[in-house]
Amino acid sequence: MELTSRERILKAFALEEPDRVPCSPWGFPAWFDKLGKDYSEKIIKNTDVLVAVRTGSKAETWIGGELANIHRRETTEDGNIREIIETPQGPLYATIKPTGDHVDWYIEHFFKDETDVEKFLSIPYKPLKIPMDDFHKWDKFIGDEGLVLGEISNPFYCSAYYFGTEENLLQTYVNKDMIIRLLDAVIERVCDVIKNASKQGVKAWRIIGAEYASTRVLPPKLFREFIVKYEKKIVDTIHECGGIAFMHMHDKMYDLIDDILEIGPDAIDPLEAPPGGDIDLATAKKRMGSQICLVGNIDEMLILSTADKNEVERLSKDCIRAAGYGGGYILGGTASGLFNPQTMDNFLVMAEVCKKHGKYPLKL
């Protein structure tokens, strides 16, 4: 009997064999706007789409409370956006260059040094009243044709976001205690969002930010200090609320597999192969497949945006052979967030491969 996309994905997350291997492009609300109606409908109808919706903006999650009183944006004379957070110890300033993209491009970050972190931590915290409208709207819209997850970032993402990637990396060496103080404060706020949003209907969570401490940029021991401790708490909180924890991590992660197993998520993506990452899917299946559902691993930027149908079919079959046996695998890309038409056409090719060659029991 054919399952719905939602059922198919949930069986894969539970490390069971669904009717066939799911094929799941990853999207988020702005991504569907950029795709346009035609492609959006095709992707939703023909794949088992995963959609991540934030339950509150980054500022709302990390600051909490009555955000309207302390956080605002203004347009500057040169057309940029000035972002201001008022704190008991004085304001924090950042500058965004508008590009028409869905991403906020910061050209000046809130945190320049430790005094800015102290200012941020001086803001009295109270749990946020979670804005759930967007989540419910998308959950209803996607329905059984995919799965909508709440998106939450780990505390190290906050540090990287507010310092900027480069300065954040420097601060991990020159002022580690300050970073830890920040992470210790933010993790409580993150867990509050999870608990409150879970009560209001979020059943699965996508956790982002681990790649800010990948082994491309930091030694493995700092991944343990900045990611494992906090992300494990996030996963445990999600599980206590009866939810599914989906860990997202770009970049190199092979040397961190034992740490990821310790964090204990139910699923992980995008498992990037070289050159973006260092994952061989068959090896990942052997090391993690009995505990974690694997999602990915076909590169969107270098492959799906340029490859022809035959190449995509070949790679899709390779992935299914490598990780599909026994269930617990979802064929996917590398969550680039980009919407090149050829990439979308290739996702439809991948979905066809799953329909023709991904039925359980696998015969590939």
């Binding site: 990396l169 060496y173 050159p275 270098l302």
Partner: protein, 211 residues
């Protein structure tokens, strides 16, 4: 240990206050500016090699670069073209529409550490700005970075613009960034592609020095 050896070690350990101290001490000892400069470069080059070999990580490179610049600031009033042998000028920038910079910045630090004068054009650099900079600085190499498939085409535009202006054979073009690969470099007529900062230095040396 000599002051020069201490200076190099201070760059390697990323200690900018010590680098400043040793650079000033070296001047007090009336050491040649070029010797002091080369010691700074040697320290940065050492870190660059270790980074390429995955023995150190991005923070060590950032700290060494900042330390090296602390030393360069001490020498700046005394530096003239004749004092140091440099390998040439390299321009670097992230293409128009793209605001990613950490990869570009790492390449900048490593290429400086390899003894080149590097001019940083920044991020979101329009094509005409790349062309004006090539005309002004007459670099040996132009390095372009893009992290999105949507901004990569700007690299081809710059190369075409260089040809139109009669500048293409005067500068080598090396490209890099997550969506970029050798195939794309060949397609648009770039002279080289570097998959990461460590190999960018090798590529610059290859096109400039033939090594």
């Amino acid at each position: 240990m000599s002051t020069i050896e201490n200076l190099k070690d201070a760059v390697i350990s990323g200690n900018d206050s010590q680098v400043k101290e040793y650079a000033e001490q070296a001047l007090t000892e009336e050491l040649d500016v070029s010797v002091i400069f080369n010691s700074l470069i040697a320290g940065m080059n050492h870190i660059g090699t270790r980074f390429k070999n995955n023995e150190v990580y991005v923070p060590e490179v950032l700290m060494a670069a900042r330390a090296m610049h602390a030393g360069l600031n001490v020498l700046k009033p005394l530096i003239t073209e004749k004092n140091m042998e440099k390998n040439g000028t390299v321009l670097i920038g992230t293409v128009q529409g793209d605001l990613h910079d950490i990869g570009k910045n790492l390449v900048l630090m490593m290429v400086e550490g390899a003894g080149y004068d590097v001019v940083d054009l920044g991020i979101d650099v329009p094509t005409d700005q790349f062309i004006m900079a090539v005309e002004k600085y007459e670099p040996k190499v132009l390095c372009m970075s893009a992290l999105l498939t949507t901004t990569m085409p700007a690299m081809a535009e710059v190369i075409d613009a260089l040809s139109e202006k009669g500048l293409r054979d005067k500068v080598k073009v090396i490209i890099g960034g997550a969506p970029v690969n050798q195939k794309y470099a060949d397609q648009i007529g770039a002279d080289g592609f570097a998959p990461d900062a460590g190999r960018a230095v090798d590529k610059v040396n290859e096109v400039v020095l033939g090594s």
